[in-house]
Amino acid sequence: MKLNIDGLLVYFPYDYIYPEQYSYMLELKRTLDAKGHGVLEMPSGTGKTISLLSLIVAYQKAYPLEVTKLVYCSRTVPEIEKVVEELRKLMDYYARQTETKNDFLALALSSRKNLCIHPEVSSLRFGKEVDGKCHSLTASYIRAQHHSNPSQPVCQFYEKFDAVGRQVPIPPGIYNLDDLKDFGRRKGWCPYFLARYAILHANIVVYSYHYLLDPKIADLVSKELAKKSVVVFDEAHNIDNVCIDSMSVNITRRTLDRCQTNVETLQNTISRIKETDAAKLREEYRRLVEGLKEANVARETDIYLSNPVLPDEILQEAVPGSIRTAEHFVGFIKRFLEYLKARLRIHHVVQESAPQFLKDIYEKVCIDRKPLRFCAERLRSLLRTLEIADIADFSPITLISHFATLVSTYSKGFTIIIEPFEDKTPTIANPVLHFSCMDPSIAIKPVFGRFQSVIITSGTLSPLDIYPRILDFRPVTMASFTMTLARTCLCPLIVGRGNDQVAMTSKFETREDFAVIRNYGNLLLEMSAIVPDGIVAFFTSYIYMENIVASWYEQGILENIQRNKLIFIETQDAAETSMALEKYQEACENGRGAILLSVARGKVSEGIDFVHHFGRAVIMFGVPYVYTQSRILKARLEYLRDQFQIRENDFLTFDAMRHAAQCVGRAIRGKTDYGLMIFADKRYARADKRGKLPRWIQEHLTDGSLNLTIDETVQLSKHFLRQMAQPFRQEDQLGLSLLTLEQLQSEDMLQKIAQIAQQA
């Protein structure tokens, strides 16, 4: 259907539209008009993706000079593929309606592992191996050697792409990863480099967060994106953690040991080259003396390693004299390495700031700050000069150099924590140096600064105001949309007590309490008897789950549950978990259904959807707080308090509630879907917790559904499930939560729509 959004003609590829989609597009349009950033929350399963895509594409078509590119960032490869499929639908619709050929170029970009078509390289299992092997076939010096010595293997796909691929533009269309591969195979071009080249002139790019947030990768891939792009972060409720991870480094004893062998290899290579080809080292030396920027010399395949700090923090001057020659640099790295080893040899926890670390390192091994800042840059130059093809082996030394550069560049927002052992195993020495970033705004700042509009959107962003605070930006629009429903298809219940009136809570003091565990068991048992098909239960941690399940087994509860349904358990092993998931779905397809026991913050809670009968009820046992004794977390909380005036408790609750909301949101993936959401902890009934749930859940949380006992829960659930089991047709939805074009244009509907968005 064709919509008129605030004067903009939008093609929407479906015959019906949800009212909240219309409202969402309105807000989005305002954000784009204002050329500012936005935070938008809309429940999952209400067509966020297609609303985003159709509005922004329409905007691009209407004002090609205002918005030149859409950069859509998603988290996982399946999500990326989903976005591309929606886009394909939209473009087909455009082509049908306007009867012109599509002139848009949209493509997905992923790592070499997902895009490589080289028969040998693509068969490797790990991403790092693929990257390393690819580099060993495409680096410029390898290709130069191939010229003189044809027996030197190179990648024929890259050769072909390099020969002709850049002159011939990729024809407009929609390319997902497989399409790119097919296209590459047909032409004999390398799809990865083709895609990386093509994003410069593509209209729509879909890729992962890291290509924009991680400075190590962003500098290579996204450097030349135009300012007039719109950047969308979908499923952005975890964006602060992504930002932090991209700037943090963890160093273990093992890393250092492997680094030691790296250094030895470097040393041997240098001495060998010195004998055979001293000119090369001299040439590098000359370049460093003159401070030539290597960017114009290097080819795209060579820039495998990039600087870990943000572009504006990189010092634009010549490499300091103390690490200019190769031997001196290796000596420098050695000293640094030995210093780190000495630091890791401790018996108690040390926490210090970057300046303290720098002062100590100067006193102990006379290393200045400036050469440290150039460490990553210098290592990159050296590795290239030495023509080391197998770069994957050098990841430890790269990590160390990144650490050196980061620690000497940033004096604020980072902390160094050295732990001699893990908290769980205080007897086994396993020293780790955490260099952890505490300020997510550092990594994301250039994104906000560079692009005219950045949209952060997800199903669970409540409370909305906290994201601008922790990411340190000023949005022009902040809005939360609810789900308009023809029938109340979600039923959140807060269970606070067992039938014996013992309070149910995963609070630390009572979590081992026998009565609490039994009540949790009884709740699951009762629910397993009345809920059809699948139930998903989330625990707060793996250990807690293990304890509870063991104790249920002893009490015979497990046996009783298994009379009703099969039980599957998520473990820390990814393969085991995916097996369990598969079998769970199989069990839901036929028979009495099944129960999946999983963990909040685990794989299941983040990426797996339980549509329709795969998840008729979600039970959240306890409040999923993070492990609060972790020193990294403590440091971060302190930083948040000092810098952003966010209290510890507020942040912890916010974090726990966003994960709880993510977990229970797994069950509702659309308006025809229905599901129970059971929060089994009395603390959920408190206003501070309840108020942090997304609005679309809060709306359905009445006073009658707070602090229930198990019996009451069963009664309410039975009633709800019976209601939901009535036939539900599309006609029932029409006009209420599903609109045709005519209905949309009616006056009172537009008024209703205006109320959907709640400005924060």
């Binding site: 003396v289 103390s322 300046p355 303290q356 006379c366 004096s411």
Partner: protein, 309 residues
């Protein structure tokens, strides 16, 4: 670390966890007991390389690789002499060359390449740059200064925070105790009904709160002199080295106006130019204005650019 051991008595860290390894200037290790035994007289030769050593020069080995210990030792010595700072050089390139030279010296000394020659170079340098070395001894490099500043800031911040939380706690505790006591007293002695007393009590408590809030001030300890120099910073008193250059000579400015010469200010009245401008009123003259000034400027303006250039 466990497999490290003394090369002489073959004890390892694994067998004797309290083993202390020592390093001397040559970079070879010995355990503490072997040092005690071999160097009873205070000096002797290294077991491995036969370098004459003193007992007092033995240090506890800090790093796994004794060569690093040796290098750091040498480096510290070299840096004591080679202590020029970045601002002692006119260009960055010179400074970088200097840094590399230092690095070369350390490298040579550590790897026993041309030790004698290098030492000579060092001595020569020391003689040549006596003043600068002396002057720079007390000074920190700019980066170190920055670091020190940051550290100081950090310390102050944490101290401030600690004080604040302490104050907060104290305040709350005190207020609670006081109000409770007051309430009890009043309930005991007053004839008013209890409800009224409670309400009064509440009011007072609120007042008290605001009062304390006002008292609480951010007392920032002074750590910077009014001149902007940090307290406790070391200032070098060595004389500034003299720079000899050619003295500057003033050259009067000459402007080519491409026009006839402009008469001077004092001649304007005589030549009759002043008849054509408004005479200055007493108010104008109060500020030092004379009609000649405006006239002179107008003539300059009119005369310039009359001749073809």
């Amino acid at each position: 670390m466990d497999d490290q051991g003394c090369p002489r008595c073959k004890t390892t860290k694994y067998r004797n966890p309290s083993l202390k390894l020592m390093v001397n200037v040559c970079g070879h290790t010995l355990c503490e007991s072997c040092v005690e035994m071999l160097f009873v007289r205070g000096s002797g030769n290294c077991v491995q390389c036969n370098t004459p050593l003193r007992k007092s020069n033995f240090r506890v080995q800090l790093f796994e690789d004794p060569a690093i210990d040796k290098e750091v030792e040498i480096r510290k010595k070299v840096l004591k002499i080679y202590n020029k700072r970045e601002f002692d050089f006119s260009t960055l390139k010179e400074y970088n060359d200097y840094l590399e030279q230092v690095e070369d010296i350390v490298f040579n000394l550590t790897n026993n390449i041309d030790v004698e020659g290098t030492k000579q170079i060092m001595e020569q340098y020391q003689r040549d740059n006596k003043d600068i070395i002396q002057k720079n001894k007390a000074k920190l490099t700019r980066e170190q200064e920055e670091l020190e500043e940051l550290l100081l800031q950090e310390q102050q911040d944490s101290e401030q925070r600690r004080l604040e939380t302490l104050q907060e706690e104290q305040r709350q505790l005190q207020a609670k105790r006081k109000s409770k006591q007051a309430l009890l007293d009043e309930l005991e002695s007053s004839k008013l009904p209890a409800a009224v007393l409670l309400a009064q009590h509440k009011d007072r408590a609120a007042q008290l709160e605001t009062q304390i809030e006002k008292q609480k001030q951010n007392v920032k300890p002074a750590n910077i002199f009014s001149t902007g120099i940090m307290m406790g910073q070391t200032v070098s008193f060595a004389s500034v080295s003299r720079v000899e250059e050619v003295l500057y000579v003033y050259q009067p400015l000459f402007i080519d106006t491409y026009g006839p010469p402009v008469p001077g200010l004092d001649q304007l009245g005589r030549l009759g130019y002043l008849n054509h401008v408004r005479t200055a009123s007493p108010q104008d003259q109060a500020g030092g204005y004379t009609s000649g000034l405006a006239c002179h400027r107008a003539i300059q303006d009119a005369f310039s650019g009359l001749f073809p250039s």
